[in-house]
């Protein structure tokens, strides 16, 4: 069987490189190649990176128009608004996580690679988180300022997003994989995934509110981390199972 | 009887709750039965034709 799996179409260099080396690219190499390609794609023209970032910024600025510009009101809802919008940005950018690879058939090749579908899913989830979500986290303090977030809460805003958002990518990946063969699967995907985001949202916002109210944020963070760990166990495996279905 | 229907002043809530429950359960049961009958009839319709075709 021809395991020249690196027919990743958006990356001819990698393809040639992989095929030059022949069949024998090990799992770690493939993992790295997928990761690098997805990160690059996210930040190429029309990629999800800039779009998610712009969405994050614009959607948060809508809230002062909706609820009024009073600093106290904004400060009260700042943590919740930033978390909810980050969650939606994540959802929107996950929509087509697997779709391009599914449609052009490269997912079939990847499924046969020594990495396996679970590893493929893990690589793509990691790439999504690094390329699309980390920039959001980095931007979040600016949005905190716009929303008049309590001065004591900025560190916790970053920390809670860092610990919690991996769960969003991991769980969202399952939704993306389940709806990969559905045309306009984005709306369906939100229906599947949003209820599962509830715990992350609760603990993430809870940690920030606790820090702003000068109470102990540690329990919130611990539960937030636990949710992410559970998602880490389920996410890649369930995504791979869902992808396998659509490849049959 | 009037006292029973009045439910201590909570009639609107109690009877609405029981009414909605009854309505939902009956609608689900009846629609399941109807769809089941329709599907069964169509299976019966298709089957003899197939046998004839084979014969």
């Amino acid at each position: 069987m021809n395991l020249c799996w690196t027919t990743l179409p958006q990356n001819l260099k990698l393809t040639r490189h992989g095929c030059d080396r022949g069949v024998g690219m090990n799992g770690a190499g493939i993992f790295g190649a997928i990761f690098a390609r997805d990160v690059r794609l996210a930040w190429s023209q029309g990629g999800t990176g800039t779009m998610a970032l712009s969405f994050f910024l614009i959607a948060v600025t809508l809230f002062p128009f909706g609820v009024g510009p009073e600093p106290q009101t904004l400060a009260r809802i700042a943590a919740g608004v930033i978390w909810v919008v980050a969650l939606l940005a994540c959802l929107l950018s996950l929509d087509r996580l697997y779709q391009a690879d599914y449609e052009d058939g490269s997912l079939d090749d990847l499924a046969l690679s020594p990495l396996g579908l679970t590893g493929v899913a893990a690589a793509k989830i990691l790439a999504h988180w690094v390329a699309t979500i980390l920039p959001l986290v980095a931007l979040s303090p600016v949005l905190g300022m716009l929303m008049n977030l309590d001065g004591d809460a900025y560190g916790m805003l970053l920390l809670s997003l860092l610990i919690g958002t991996p769960a969003l990518s991991l769980i969202g990946s399952v939704g993306a994989a389940l709806t990969v063969s559905v045309r306009r699967g984005g709306v369906l995907m939100s229906l599947l995934v949003l209820p599962l985001y509830v715990p992350t949202l609760i603990f993430g916002v809870g940690a920030i509110d606790a820090a702003a109210g000068m109470t102990d944020a540690l329990p919130h963070l611990a539960f937030l981390g636990a949710v992410t760990l559970v998602a880490l166990v389920i996410g890649p495996v369930a995504s791979a199972a869902a992808l396998r279905l659509s490849l049959e | 009887m009037a006292e029973f229907l009045d439910m201590g002043g909570y009639a609107a809530f109690v009877w609405t709750a029981y009414g909605l429950t009854a309505l939902a359960l009956v609608v689900l049961a009846v629609s399941s039965l109807r769809a089941g009958k329709k599907a069964r009839d169509r299976v019966e319709q298709l089957r003899p034709r197939r046998r004839k075709g084979q014969a």
């Binding site: 559905v182 599947l192 | 029981y18």
Partner: protein, 239 residues
Amino acid sequence: MHRFANPAEFNRLADAILPWAKVVMAAAFLYGLYLALYASPADYQQGESVRIMYIHVPAAWMAMFTYMVVAVASFTALVWRHPLALLAGKAAAPIGLVFTGLALLTGMLWGKPMWGTYWVWDGRLTSVLVLFFLYLGYMALWRALDEEDKAGRAASILALVGVVNIPIIKFSVDWWNTLHQPASVMRMDGPSMPVEMLWPLLTLAVAYKAYFVVVLLYRMKLEINLRKLSVLSSLEVQG
């Protein structure tokens, strides 16, 4: 007709169970409603509105129970590739959705006289609301994929991911609720409930469960026939 062998056996089993389940259902509903509406005392705090509890709490139990049925069916379908299990999940989901909706509606109607408002973000109501969304997602996924078998297995994966998340969701919502606890929320504590109130509750719970069995069996027979129909019509097309 080999591929129907299993369903035929199921149909025989279902036909054997159905009459009994119907008798239990009818008896439990009649006796339970008699107790709930007439023969039980009004609560000294809540007055007659406590009668809503007798249909609200069993509905909430059924909402959880049915999701567990869907999850077990999904697991069986995925691990052993059991076609009937797939159909059992599909048949059970609408029943669960109805019970979940009823738990929410009756909860709101009980909340208005008790809490003064139709909706409070009470821990229980909120987790039942999330459960309602999980049912919606499961059923939407079944409909979204054209190929019946794939749709079922995709929905099964979702149901299993959901069932792992249910305790986490429940816990997080309770946690969130105690942080934002409105002082007026009253709790119905199980053990302190007097026996006269426990009986109607349990009787109606039995009635709901029997109803579930009856409708589930009918819906599974329906799904089997729909399966047959798609096989028969494809044979017809092939000539």
